[in-house]
């Protein structure tokens, strides 16, 4: 057990170092950092002085080591575009993205599991078939189109919900939250649905498939024969056994939710890190890009690690079967 966990942790660190190398390469070679910081009227002496001060004359591996050391303590330099420390810029934007991801994750899980159970139990029902067909379209529909359709229906035509921004936020010192005001909550609804819908269909299809499989097994048939009431049969006996893969997939999808937030945040002009990243790409703001990349990789690698270890703990069959796999 310990050896397995240790190996997975080492692997994760290796992945992070590799991503760090990519980020460092971007940082060092995309555009000219000196040019970006000095402007056009700099003299040759200014250049040489800045090169020395930034340590850009050092051997490349020394520079890489310094980059990693700085990254480990959250030091990414100054945003070219905003002229403020990258860490500060990202910290301001992070609460918005995390709140959005949290709500849509819950939505996807609760909605996906309940719809999945429903469609599995009422296999040939009219409503079930309608849900399945809708989900097929939902998978093909790009995220940004879902967002636009929602804006069109609920913001433009019905005028029920706001179409952009976070509404009023309450500043808690280090965290500004939209959960505490009515307009904040109303602004959250459409983006959360947009972001969660794809994962919802994914979880729903998974739960449905797993449920159908479990319902066919002998122990369910025996339980039925013993006269256990339907409710307890479906939820206590069947659903419980479908949960291991579902929780795994949900965990892995959590990272995707944060990544796909880029698209949702652009559609709704939601002031999160995703929107920041898109801005950074458009203006080739390399420090912000590098920091975002490392932040996202950290989230992904951590989630993968936790899921893998949980898997190992929960399901004894995996312990020998898949040592190196994802």
């Amino acid at each position: 057990m310990l050896a397995y966990v240790l190996r997975r942790v080492l692997q994760s660190v290796a992945v992070l170092l590799a991503v760090g190398l990519v980020a460092f390469t971007m940082f060092r070679y995309v555009g000219d950092p000196v040019e970006n910081m000095l402007g056009q009227e700099a003299t040759q002496a200014d250049r040489a002085e800045l090169l020395e001060r930034l340590g850009l004359n050092d051997p490349i591996h020394v520079q890489y080591a310094r980059f990693i050391r700085n990254a480990a303590v959250g030091e990414f330099g100054v945003s070219y575009r905003q002229g403020r420390p990258v860490t500060q810029v990202i910290a301001e934007r992070l609460p918005a993205t995390l709140e959005l991801a949290f709500v849509s994750g819950i939505l996807a899980f609760v909605g996906g599991v309940s719809l999945g159970v429903y469609t599995a139990l009422k296999r040939n029902g009219v409503l079930s078939n309608a849900i399945m067909i809708t989900s097929l379209i939902g998978v093909s529909l790009p995220t940004f189109l879902i967002g636009i359709v929602l804006i069109w229906v609920f913001a433009v035509e019905l005028r029920w919900l706001p179409s952009y921004g976070r509404g009023d936020v309450v500043d808690l010192g280090w965290w500004d939250t939209g959960f505490l005001t009515l307009s904040g909550l109303k602004s959250l609804i459409l983006p959360a649905i947009t972001l969660g819908l794809y994962q919802l269909t994914l979880i729903m299809r998974l739960v449905r498939a797993e449920m159908l499989e479990v319902l066919r097994t002998d122990y369910i048939k025996f339980a039925e024969a013993r006269g256990i009431p339907d409710r307890s049969l479906y939820f206590r006996h069947a659903l419980k056994n479908t949960m291991v893969p579902v929780i795994t997939i949900t965990g892995l999808q959590l990272g995707s939710i944060i990544a796909f937030a880029i698209i949702t945040e652009t559609v709704f002009q939601w002031p999160g890190v995703g929107l920041l990243f898109i801005d950074a790409i458009q203006f080739v703001d390399v420090p912000v890009m590098a920091a975002y990349l490392l932040l996202i990789s950290l989230v992904f690698v951590t989630i993968n690690l936790i899921v893998d270890i949980l898997y190992y703990v929960v399901d004894p069959r995996i312990r020998d079967a898949r040592p190196g796999a994802r």
Binding site: S140, L141, I148, I262, I263, T266, I281, R326
Partner: protein
Amino acid sequence: MSRTDASPGPGPDNREAPAPPPPPAWRRRLGEALESDLAYAFCRSPVAIISSLVVGLIVFAAVFAPLIAPHDPFDPASLNLMDGFSRPMTPNEFTGNLYWLGADDQGRDVFSAILYGSRISLFVGFAAVLLSAAMGVGLGLVAGYRGGWLDAVIMRIADVQLSFPSILIALLIYGVARGFIPPTEREAAAVWVLILAIGLSEWVQYARAVRGVVLVEKEKEYVQAARLIGVAPWRIMATHILPNAFGPILVIATIGLALAIIAEATLSFLGVGVSPTQPSLGTLIRIGQGFLFSGEWWILLFPALTLLALALAINLLGDWLRDAINPKLR
């Protein structure tokens, strides 16, 4: 070589060829293809037929856009501002011009813009699929056939890349590529950067599938025999092993085409894709979104529907293909 009576019916080619004409290779292949299980399964699946009709129609309209489109949406001289915001299927109140799907704010015909837009979307999609297939197949072959540290390195990179959503990777590649291109040439290079970004973000599936096939096939006797008589490794890979992976590659490429088209639309929608002067479907949707609040819904709706129809049809086709090629997966 068999005689011509095996070929399906007489045609102009038969008369031109000297007697006795062997059937041209393509014709023999076509005959075989028409009698295959795949063709049979195709004819019996309404979903496959309808999907391929939809895809075929859109591809046809995109390829022949200059001939079909009633207006040239890229020629500023042909635009009439008085035609701006013409409603679909109603003659414009000032000029009396009729636009089937309406016109945008500058009087640009939405229908023509969609035709030209699908052209760019499809071009980027196909090119990206070609790039990722070539890269994935190549790396998969090498990884599987050579094994050892090369295999380990390639598959490790694949694993890492697979754990990140491809749209994120594409965005990143796009950002880096932009950094290397001088600002004056960014506009012109946008399409190629887009193809590179999407292509590089989707190669993993091919590599994994091909590597799997190679690992199975390379132990078989025919490969060992080929190796024994001294056939060069690349030749064994390309002509003996690769054909076995054709089915999975085709399935991945079909679904990959839908993914690439959606990725292109997404990137263009995010504003990092092709420039507004050469709008793809995603750019048109981005433009249309701006008019939603003022009530000009047609500028948004029709490009969006085209994108949806295209993506859905290709997805359905890919699903069908997967089931048809490998009945075990049903």
